[in-house]
Every structure is written in structure tokens, then in C-alpha cells.
Symmetry: D2
Subunit: 462 residues, 4 copies
């Protein structure tokens, strides 16, 4: 691939959400250190104040001399203002508030259901999907109206449901979802080379992988570094660290401790399925029946964390304090690459440099055995104004089985929202692997969780 | 459809299995009272004595003047003798013995898993499938060699796995599976007409139904009697009898008390899915997570029976005594229609009268949303030398979800046997809804159950 | 199948079109001699006078004592009046007038293209489709508005395009298309039994056939009478009459001489493809390249007729005269079964008697190898409020090839109308097998034919 | 994508065919100038002398100091010797001799059929396919036996049929087909940038294209250079040069004059279908009905050449003379990049550098609307031991129509050879767009052409 890097100016980006800071700052930082792009970012958040603080922080970069990319930030008060004339739309919202999320994660605990994240599957993921779908239906309609040709990059979870909804409402939308979970598995494979082969300083981008799966339940059935086949190595690696686990150096610093794991779930899944699970253990565990999440003690044994919403509240408040410190000039955001690929992808879509990475996008044939049009995660080629998924092949039947279960549940949830039919939603609820209980208890939990979401779902399911 | 009934003589039927008597006698009786067919039945059973007793009983019919169909029975010592020149092959075997079945049903109980039948899904169904597949691989090879144009009618469970294996080995085989579970739902609907509408004497054949599903997990999404739509009626019916249940008169006499139920599971499933489940409650319960089978007490509450293998042993010994009484002339088999359709289907395949009924056959497009080639149950048109399934449509996503789970598990089991790979079998095992437990416990159960099958599986998974 | 015939009264039928008499009279006659139906027929035709004359004729039946079915006819002035409260809608229209049809059939002759019918394929079929699609889009919208639950029975050509359009606009429409072309092949097979086997008095309904194909290009890959396999017999039959052809007795009287053929095309196609073509030679010839239609002389050699529009004009004027004679009491319509199945189908849909026959309906899996949702012709089971196609299997690749060509052309024509894009229509035009010429000449012909349709297409392709 | 170029030594390549020199020399040259590869090439040709001359020429490179890649050549006497231990197998054979090819191309001319190449479609392509399939069946069996893990790179035509046959016989074969036809369209687009935009020195690799189609009938529905969308430009370009055509500078020198064209067919197809045809005009013309190939005069008007086999004979003899001159040291092969990508692909498969280019490979989902498993041409990602096609999307219906016609014909030809059934082959023959004639004439042509192939097909169709 011959590079064709060049400068593109006057790009219009709409950033929807981001008031929670983490993701927005990451993106703003990556923009600031990229020399071949410049333009305008319109920040829209339902919390205007939060957006406005981001505007100030973003614009403050212009005074720092280490920056290479010049961007002007504007907080706007309506989503329409943000979307109009946008070339790219970044969506990273929290669907609902931490109050709803608290119910998602913790209400099921009374019923013996422990969720390590609660944003993708399980009772929590289902409730979150029900809240999210109507919001994304509206996003799709607004994109159609205000910027039908823009590229939409989604970071919100539940990823698959978000992207599926956008395409359902506006089938020609140019949308896809980005998720960094695969990256940490590439990092793990790079470290494995050091541990087992004394090959040092391998970048995760040099680890070539074939990705197949659905978001947070992605798998690697072939992986290589140069001409080294990594699958046989991984077998040794998983055997060696099966008991104690293996913690990557990088992972620890990446975002936060809470998200750390010792990859024990990953090694266990390799033992069972013979292919490499490629997401954080916290996510992977939620797709299986109660193997890894039977109890808080069991989780500890598997060396990963449940993520209490209390922690999220604390984290949020710390970010807010940090935000104030930045606004007061007491602290500066460090300008170093985040490891996220959003900016690289934008460059590719602008024609600057072709790029292959994993992406969440409707199945057009790239994942055999999974229904067409459901949102799957595989590699894709990004180039000028184009995302083309790579045909990843067919997972083994047992994995198709687990994936199909979640894919069809997502379809059912979408149908429930479109038809405004609570009973259809309940059918998805009881099909979730975590809801393995007497059906009347399941009903109680469902109703309790709906009640916790009444601000978002009452009109829908009245 | 204009009838074209006529006499067909010199038909050659091979009956494989049947040593356990029940099914063989039923079939022999139906043949004896059908006036338009006659010929020869070769009886093959791995227990030659049992086949020989059936020969004597079958031939004794010739002395009774109420018979209309003249058939000569021969017990043969090899399956080859039975198959050579066969026009029809009936297969109704017990894969393994009651000893293996005892393990299928009762070993999981130590792990808190209660199975009402244990022959289709669950740990029991999985073990039974593993025993059955190699036997059916051999059947397919022998049919290909000795009677490639014969029609194969399967009555053995696990039905779908049996039929799937036959087609996998010999893709042009003319095989299908018959199951009477749907009939009792038609009987229930006929009685509903009496209860709710005072319409009496409706034959179950007059209840027209669209069947969609997989064996023992079949559903009816439209049903009518003359010009009466039965779905809205069924809603009232299910509401009315939701608590106490409803027991059909016929059901009781049909085969045996042990198989009776009060249709409470059926009513509950209707409430949840809005379509009519069309199999016995004992079977339906095994496809759901632990809703109806959490404990023996729970089962009692739902008013159906677990079928202990002890009962099967007793029943077997009673049939043996009965067999001796018949041979001694102390008792006679009653010659009345059994309610099974095997003979009617044979007549249709001989061109005597077209016939529509439900059948298990590979998916060629008749069941949307379920993988092609997996064995599904829908209506089919039987006519001269032809079985053509009727396009049944697409089940709702939540039901496709449950079906797919079992269909892919069946595929996985077939793959495990073909590749002789125990680990693949274990992947199916842990994907079964009943095996919702810590994976190490699951492994223990799996190994214990394999040990109980070592006569059948040791060579396979050595 | 146990019959459940009973009386249904107060049926509301809307008859759209029929001003050209032939089809309407046939249907009215069949209604008059059916004892188990009665009700009201609303007649709507863009020529109100014609509808009104049919009203008088229809109502005059009530005075004849041989009738068994009592129907009241009303000519109505708007289609809305006809559709409101309709249980069944019969559509048999001429899309455009004989002036447009004259262009369809005869303009291409200047370019060396001879079409025997010109209503399904070829330049004529394409122009007719372009005229028809907008009309059927409107029909679908009106059905959705005025009688969304009614059953729609289409007799108009081009059949597949009509039905496809209805489903495209209103996906839940209960519509299908009926065509009698297969029946004459059943008659041919019945006569074959007489000629080769001395079996007399076989009804065409006793000839069981598996139908696969698209309208007017349907094929039979298995056929039987009782237990006689008709395929080997047909081989002898085709050989015997290959040179001179064979004319059925019935065929001659059925509608008219002009439609007669000696089945030589049919025998020739059997020789080439090994399966039985099941439509009139006039239609079949139009699906092949110029084999049978190279020149008027060639057609004569193959012993079938080109159908000049001049003949249609004459026929129309004769029917009008006949209509006047009937109105004046100088002549009476003979009340004998027409051989059409519309009334039988209505009875089946009302739950009176199940019925299997061939039907044109979107592909839901019944025809393997042909795109889903395209309109195909196979057998279907008609029962209470239900049409379920029978899985017919997969035609051989060379026949799939020819079918796909026309199916995709129909899709392209629909797309051209929806997008109002003349160029897309031209792409279909040049993909037709008959338009094998220099592309500039093709363009001239296309433009000339469009000009002849300007009353219908000008607004569309302006 | 981060480059990971490194040296790979001791590669074993089997080169099957190549006795005709052109392709073999090209490949040997490219190897000689690539610094990161070295190893052994075993040359096998049914003409051992030709292979032996190539051995001498190949080894003579070792004496030239400008070479960077060190390869040892061995002519071998059996294909087994070549295949054993091969890492890569290059197949570039002439199926049959120029005598058979003479019949392919020129026998149909008596029937008014002019073929510009005669190796892919048309009567010539069909006969060539019939000769080729048995040869490739044997290749597949030998690869399975001697080097089951080798990568097979096919250059032989008919490309799709060759690759399809390999996969049919050995489904896990790692084979694909390379064709340079798309490259010249990239060159054309690069020159267009110069002509219309004064952008000079654009490499064809910088022209990013989405490829969809089947070999020699490939299409580009999006193309870009950096951030310039080339589709609108191409519209202007096609308009501007529609009448006189446009000849690329490079094209002329690339292989030979005979293959030159003025791209008039390409511009005409753009006008008709709105997307860019991406193969030489000589090939494209053969997929359409007689638009461009009505007569030799017509061809001249469209400014491309018919390729008489006489020319091929002359060319062959010139290459032989050149070969002798090289052997005698009178001439040297010029060592410059050929423009072919075989060596680049080998490097990618060895893990040296990822690479995206167009490739012929079975459809696993990359080309929507075309049957799975048929061989299609799209982009693919080549990386370590992996070729993953890129999902190219769905061509417009009219193009799917034309492609399907040829794809199904290829399937039919494969079936004819497997079943050794001449009649099935004839069904493909009469489905070819060029065989639009009276069926008896078609039969004569078919028989005449078979007679010309009797050395190859007599045993097959006896």
C-alpha cells in the first residue's frame, strides 16, 4: 500500500456526548498531535456545561506549542447545530445516567446475577439497550436530515445495538462502531513474544489478526507476527499462565486499574474453544453462562473485577475535579497518543492513508453463519470515503451458537422498541444466558428493572 | 385432491428394531386393518429372539378374520437380509440399552438437573445422540448399499439427529422422521372446540395447523377448524385453564399414563410467546432453561411427570409378559387404529392418496431463520414417491433463538462423532441450556456420563 | 385430508377489470354453479359501461334455475367502492389498450423480433411491465387502505411483475397469481396415458406434478398418475410425436384456436433439458433465444401461432357483440365449469376444502437457486385463510440460468419505475434475450416503443 | 499498516507450465530483482525441452550482477517432482495446443460468431473450459497428495473455471487466481488525472478501486486518488473520448500491440451501466451479446483487435527464436519489473508486507447477489499465510444478470465434466450469449468443435 498522506483542512466534526470527559479528551488529544488534519469540532452534550468546559479545554490546546493539529472547538446547544455540515460525527454518550446504570448492574445481584460490566448482555445490557435504541433512532433521523453523507463513528455501548439501530432507521447511513477491546489482546500477543521468544518491542499493530465475532465477544482464529504463526505459541502461553494468569504491562496504565485483568478467562476460553478470545475478561465473562460470574468470590479467583457503579460515580467526580483544575490552569492534559484509532480512521476516510482494523458494522457477508444485517465485528479496509469489511470466515458451531443467541436477542430488543411491545422485550430478557431462573422471578426482576428506567421507558411501554 | 385409492401388493418392508414391542405391534396392527396394502415384513432386531416373537405374532394375524391386509412376517438375522429389496424401511430402535438410558436421565440429577424424558436435549439427549450417530451412520451406509431407493421412516429419538445423520452420510437418501407429538395438540384443540363452543366430534385431522419448529419443540402459528380461527379461542382456553390445567380424554388412553400431562406448560408457553407449543409438556419443558424442571416438586406443580427409567424397565417387562401371553394364545392384540400415521404415509408414497402431515426432514427452505440442511419439523405433502415440505414461514426471533441453540448443538455433536473429537462434544454439552454450572462441574458430569456409555463411545473417543 | 365442505354466505368480492368480458364471464359462470358460496360481487372497470353490462349479465343468472350459487352484482364507479369491505379481490385488467399492445407485439417485428404473445418477456413484455407496475403500485396502496385483510387473486400479465409489485408496496398483502398454463400440460399428460397405455378418462387433477419455475416458464420434474411415474412415459411420448407434434383434444375447445399448439416446442425442450416444460408453446418459445421465433415461417414449422393484435381486436369486437346479444336475450352464457380454479381456491381460503395447485407468489424458500422474494410458480397448499407454497426443489443450473435472467430483469424494471429512471429500464431491455442486436438499434427500438406508450410512461420517464 | 519486511530464504516454488516462455520469463525476472526472497524453482512443463531451456535461462541470471534475488532453477520430468515440498505452485499452462485454440476461435466464425479472445466465454471459452477442467481436477488431486499446504497461484484461463475446479476437488486448497486486466484500468485512471487535472506521475497502485465481478468482467463502482473521487471525472473522460477513444501510453508497451485497445468499449459500457468496466476491451466485448463483435468491421470501428490464432503461432515462434538467442548468449532478458504482482503476493503470504489487490477466489460472501462458492474477482487482503477477500458489495441487477449467466454456465460445464455428460455441456453451450442461433445449427457447431477437441474430450464424452 503506497502511502498518500497529505494535509486536509476545514474538516467539520460533530462530537455528540463526551460530557463525561474521558473519551472526549482522548479524542481531542489525538487530534492535537496529528499534523495532517485541522478544522472545527462542534461539541454537543445534553449537559451543555460539560460540553462548554470541553470547548475551553480544546481551544486551550491552541496555545501549546507542541500541538501539530489546529482545531477550533464550539459547544452548541442543539444537536442540529452540531450535525449541520458535519463531515464526521462522533457519538459517545451514556444512555441514561449512572442512576439507571446502577439498576442495570446491581438490581440483578439480589437475584444472584453478578455482571462485571452490565452494558452489553445480561439484564443490565438488555435494559441499557432498551434505553439506547430510541435515542439512536432519533440520531439516525437527524443524521438523515442534517448530514446524510457524514461518517458516523460510534463509541457508545451496547455497540452492536447502537449501530444496528442506526442502519435500521437509515439504511444508507455511513456508520460504524469502534472498540479497543481487540487492541489489548494484540498487546498481550506482543508481550507473549517477549516472554516466550525474547522478541522485544513489538507494536500491537504488527500483530496481524483475523477477527471474527460480535462486539465484546470477538475471536481470533489466526494471528501472526511477521512469519511467526502465533496460535501454537498461544497454546503454550495459555498453558504456562493458566493458573496464575498473566498481566500485561501496558494494560495497567491504559485507562484504569478497574479494567485490568489477568487474562485467566481468556486462557480458559482458549482451552475450551481452541481459538483466542479477543476482549477484556470482564466482557467475555458476560457472554458465557455463569462460569466466571457465579459469585463475587468466583470473580476474584478468575482475577478480574466487577465494576461497581459506585466506582463509576467516584471516577466521574474525579474527572470533574480534573476538568476544573484544567480550566483553572492548575493541570494540563498530557498530549500523547491515546492508543485509540479514531483519528487514524478519519485520515483513512479522507484518503490520506489506507488502514485495516476491526470494526462493528452490519453483516454483509463478512461473518458466515451469523444472520445478514446483524452487527458483527471483523477487520475492515478503510480508505477514501469507504469502509469495506474483510471476509473473516465461519466461526466454529459452538461459538456461532453463543453469538447467535445474543444477535437474535438484539434483534428482539429492536423489535420490542419499534413495536413498543414490552412482552417482546421480556422474551429477549428470558433468553439471556444470565436469566436462568424461574420465570416468575424473572418477571419480577424485569419489572423492577423497568421501574428503575421509567424516565426512559415509560412512554415506550405504557 | 381427488382420491386415487387402489390396491398395492407385494410390498417389501424392513422393520429395524421393534424388539421392545410397543412400536412394532402398533405398526403390525395398522397394517392388518388396511385393506389396500399387502406384502412382506422382514423383522430385524439386535435381539433376534424379540424379532422372532414378533414374527409369530404378526403371522398369527393371518388366522383372524377381521383382518383386511395380508402380510407375511420374517425375522431375519442380519440387517442386510432385511434391507435387500426393501421398498420401505422402518427404524425404531433403542440406541443403547436401558442401562445407558438410566445414566442419561439420572446421573445429572446429582447435579440438580432433572430431565422429564432425557432423549432429545439436556445431558441425556446429548449422550443419547453421541451413541446414536455412529449407529445411524452405519444404517445410511447399508441403505446406500442394499436399498438405495427405499423410503426410510424413522421413529427413533433423538429424531433430528437420526435424520440429520442419514442425510449427512447419504445425501440422496429418501428418509424422514415421524413423530406423534403434534397429534395430541390437535386433539387438545378439538376438545377445546367442545369445551368453548359446544362443537363435538371433531377429528384431530380436521384441525388444520401450520407447524414450525424442530422435533419436540414444534409450534403452531395458525390453526383452524373449518372457517374458525383457533388462535383467539386458544387464548381464552389457556387463560381459563392456566391454573388447573386441562387434561384431554384421549391422551390418557393413548399410550400410557406416564406420558399424560395437564398442558400447563403449553398454556404457560402460549402466554409467553403468543403461539401454540405443539408437543407434550414433558418434551417442551426440556427445551427451556430450568423454568419447569427446577425440582421434582416444581414438576408436580406443572402437572406432568418425570419418566424414571425404572418405569421403563417395568413397562418393558410387562410387554414381555404380554408377548408371552400372546404367543401362548392367552391374549390377543386388539386390532384397532393406533392413531399413528405410518401406514397412511406408505399409502401416499405408493400413490394411493395424497396426504399432508408434519414430518422431520432437512431444511430446504421450509423454515426460515433456521440453517439450511438442519432437520426441522413442518408440514409436508406426501404423494407418489415424493415428500415435499410446505414453507412454514419464519418463527419469531425469540423462538428461532431457542431452536438455533439446539440445532447448532446437534451439528456440533455430529461433527464431534465424525472427527472423533471428545472436546467438540464437550463444547456442545456446555452449550446445552441445562448445563448451566461451573465449567469444572460440567466436566465432571460429562466424564461420568461418558463412562456410563463406554460400551458405545470408548472406541469413538479413545 | 378430511373434507369439511360447508356453506359460506355473504361473501364480498371485488372484481377489478373484466370489461373485456372473457375472464369475467368465466368467473361469474363458475360462481353460479357452485352451491356452497353466495354473496356480492362489485364490478369495477375503467370502462364503466363494460362493468355495467357485466352487472346485468351476472344478475340475469338469478333467473335461471340451473344455478346453485346466488350472487348479486353491482357495477361501481370507483375502485374504492369495490374494495371497501371486500373479502376477495380479483384483478384481471388489460394494462393499457390494444393500441399499446399493438406496439408491444408488432413494433419489434421491423427489427426482426417476432413475439408469439408479447406480454411476459421480450420487448413487448418489458413495455407492458413498465405500464403495469405503476397501476399495481396504486392497487397495492388502495388495498392497504380499503381492505388490508382481503385476499387478492391476480390474473393479469405480466403475472410475476404484478404480484412482485403488490408485495413490494404492501409487504403483508395476501396476494397470489393464478395461471392455467400448467393445466393444459396436465391434460396433455392425461391424454398421453390414453395414447400410450390405453388408460382412459383420467382427469387432469389426477395428474400429480411438481411444479418449478416462473410464470409461463414452469417445469415439471416429477409427475405421476396413481403409482405410474410419468417421466419415462413422456420420454417415449416426446420421441414418438417429436416430428408431427401432438394436439390435445381438450386444448382446442378450451379458449380458442389461436392459442392452440402441437406441443412441438414442449417436446423439443424435453429433449434438451430432460424435464417437462409446463406452459403453452407460445409462452415457452418467448423465454428462449430465437430458436422457435426466428421468423413467421419458423413458427409455422413449430406448429404454434403468433398472436397478432389484429386478432385480439376482432375477438374483442365479437365478445362485445355477444355481450349485446346476451343483454338482448338473444343468447345465453352456457353454465359449465370453465376449468379455471378461482372458485375452488376461494372455497379453500374460506376453509371449505383444502386444495393444492400451482400459484405465483414471492419466493420464501420454495424455489432453491432463485432469489428470495422474486415471484415464482410452484405448488401451494390452500387452506383456511392461508396459502403455503410447497418446497419444489432446485431446477438444474441451465434452467436456473434462464429463469434468473428474467427474474433479475423484472427486478430491474421495478427499480426503473420506482426510481423513475429510463436508463435503468433500458438496461433491462438490452438484457432481454430477444434484444440481441447492435446497441444503437436497440436504443431506437426502445425509444420507438416508449413513444408508443407515452400516454402511460411520459410522466414516469419525463 | 506497519511494514515488516525481512528476508525469506529457501523458498520452494513449483512452476507448472511456462513452456510458452512469456509468463515464465516475466516471473523469473521479477524474482531476480527482489532482494528479500531466495530459493529454488522447479520447472515442469509437458514439453520438457521448453522447461529445460527455462532452467538454463533462469540459472544464467546468477551470473548477472544486477540481480538481488538468488534462485536455483531445475527442470523436472514429472509434476510430482515439482510439487513435492513446494511452498508455492505457479500454474500457467495452455490447456490443449494452438490447434485446439484455433478451433475455439475460428470454427465459430463460419457461423457468424467473432471472438476477440475466445478463452473465457463464447463457444471458444466453453470448449477451452471442457479441456481444462479434467486437467485441473488432476492438479487438485496431486496438490492434495504432494503439497497440501502449498499456496497455488493460477494464471491460466479460463481463470474462474480453473480455480473453481481446484476448490471443488480439494475444498481446503489454498488457491487463487491472478489477472492483470484490472491494472490497465488503473493505468487508464492515472492517465485520466493527467489529461483532465494535470496531475502527473500517479502510480497505478495509488488508484484505489473497489473491484466487483468475475474474471474479465470486473467492474469498479468506486475509485479514488488521494481524496479525489474518480467516478465523476471518469464520466467527463468517457464523454470526451467516447468517439475517438483513448489509448494509454503504457498499455502499448505492456505486452504487445495485439492486446491494445482504445477503451471505446469501456466508455460505451460506462455510458450504459454507470460504473467502470475494468478489463481490456477484447475481454469485455465477449461478455455482451453481439454489440461489439457483430463483424470484423464492427470490431475495427470499436478500435480493438480480434486475436487470430495465426498471430499466436507467430508470436510463439518468435519467442522460441528469442529463447535460442538467449541460450546462445546473443541476447539477454531485460531485468525490469514486469508489472505483475506474483512476487509481491508471495512476499505478503510469507509475512513480509501486507498487500491488497484483486484476486479470483470462491465467493464466501464478498460478492452479494452471486452464488456462494462460484469464483469471483474482488479485492483481497494478503498477509502471512492468508488471503481474505474484501466485501465488495452488490452489483446492480443488470450486471448481476450478466455475471450470473456466465457463473451458472461455468457450474454447468463443471457438472458436465464430473458426470461425463455431453448433453449437460450442450446446455451450457446454448446458454452462452454468443450462441444465439437455431438450435440445430448450434448443435452442428458444438459437434464440430468437439471433434476438434477429440484428443482431449473423446474419453470424457464417449
Amino acid at each position: 500500500m503506497i502511502g498518500s498522506e497529505f494535509k486536509t483542512n476545514n474538516i467539520n466534526i460533530a462530537y455528540i456526548g463526551g460530557g463525561s470527559k474521558g473519551w472526549a479528551w482522548t479524542f481531542m488529544t489525538d487530534l492535537a498531535i496529528e499534523e495532517n488534519l485541522s478544522g472545527t469540532v462542534k461539541l454537543y452534550d445534553i449537559d451543555y456545561e460539560a460540553a462548554y468546559r470541553n470547548e475551553i479545554i480544546g481551544n486551550s490546546f491552541l496555545k501549546r506549542k507542541e500541538i501539530k493539529g489546529y482545531w477550533k472547538y464550539y459547544a452548541v446547544k442543539t444537536i442540529e447545530e452540531a450535525l449541520k455540515e458535519a463531515d464526521f460525527v462522533i457519538i459517545s454518550i451514556l444512555p441514561g445516567t449512572l442512576d439507571e446504570m446502577e439498576g442495570d448492574v446491581h438490581l440483578p445481584e439480589k437475584y444472584g446475577i453478578y455482571q462485571s460490566v452490565g452494558d452489553t448482555t445480561g439484564p443490565g445490557g438488555i435494559m441499557r439497550a432498551l434505553r439506547t435504541i430510541p435515542i439512536y433512532m432519533e440520531f439516525a433521523q437527524k443524521v438523515y436530515k442534517y448530514c446524510p453523507d457524514a461518517w458516523i463513528i460510534n463509541y457508545t455501548n451496547p455497540m452492536a445495538v447502537c449501530v444496528r439501530t442506526l442502519y435500521h432507521i437509515y439504511p444508507k447511513i455511513k456508520a460504524f462502531g469502534c472498540c479497543h477491546e481487540v487492541f489489548s489482546t494484540q498487546v498481550l500477543l506482543a508481550e507473549m513474544l517477549k516472554v516466550l521468544k525474547n522478541i522485544e518491542n513489538v507494536n500491537r499493530e504488527e500483530i496481524k489478526v483475523n477477527i471474527l465475532g460480535i462486539n465484546h465477544f470477538t475471536w481470533i482464529d489466526s494471528a501472526s507476527y511477521k512469519n511467526i504463526d502465533l496460535l501454537p505459541l498461544y497454546k503454550d502461553f495459555a498453558d504456562k499462565f493458566y493458573e496464575e494468569g498473566y498481566e500485561t504491562e501496558e494494560n495497567e496504565h491504559w485507562i484504569n486499574n478497574m479494567f485490568k485483568c489477568a487474562n485467566k478467562v481468556k486462557f480458559d476460553l482458549f482451552k475450551r474453544y481452541g481459538v483466542i478470545a479477543a476482549a477484556g475478561d470482564r466482557h467475555l465473562a458476560e457472554f458465557m453462562p455463569s462460569w466466571y460470574l457465579k459469585s463475587p468470590e468466583g470473580v476474584e479467583k478468575w482475577k478480574f473485577n466487577l465494576t461497581p457503579v459506585e466506582w463509576r460515580r467516584k471516577n466521574k467526580s474525579e474527572l470533574e475535579k480534573k476538568s476544573l483544575r484544567i480550566l483553572n490552569g492548575e493541570e494540563e492534559l498530557v498530549l500523547k497518543p491515546s492508543g485509540e484509532e479514531g483519528v487514524k480512521i478519519i485520515k483513512a476516510l479522507l484518503g490520506q492513508e489506507d488502514f485495516i482494523t476491526n470494526v462493528n458494522i452490519p453483516n454483509r457477508g463478512q461473518l458466515e453463519g451469523i444472520p445478514m444485517d446483524s452487527v458483527v465485528e471483523t477487520n475492515a479496509v478503510f480508505s477514501y470515503n469507504s469502509v469495506k469489511p474483510v471476509v473473516a470466515g465461519r466461526p466454529d458451531s459452538p461459538l456461532i451458537n453463543i453469538m447467535t443467541r445474543h444477535v437474535l436477542n438484539q434483534e428482539t430488543l429492536l423489535e420490542a422498541v419499534i413495536k413498543k411491545d414490552k412482552e417482546i422485550a421480556f422474551r429477549a430478557f428470558i433468553n439471556d444466558p444470565f436469566v436462568d431462573m424461574d420465570v416468575d422471578r424473572a418477571r419480577n426482576l424485569f419489572d423492577e428493572m423497568l421501574a428503575n428506567n421509567k424516565k426512559y421507558l415509560d412512554k415506550l411501554f405504557c
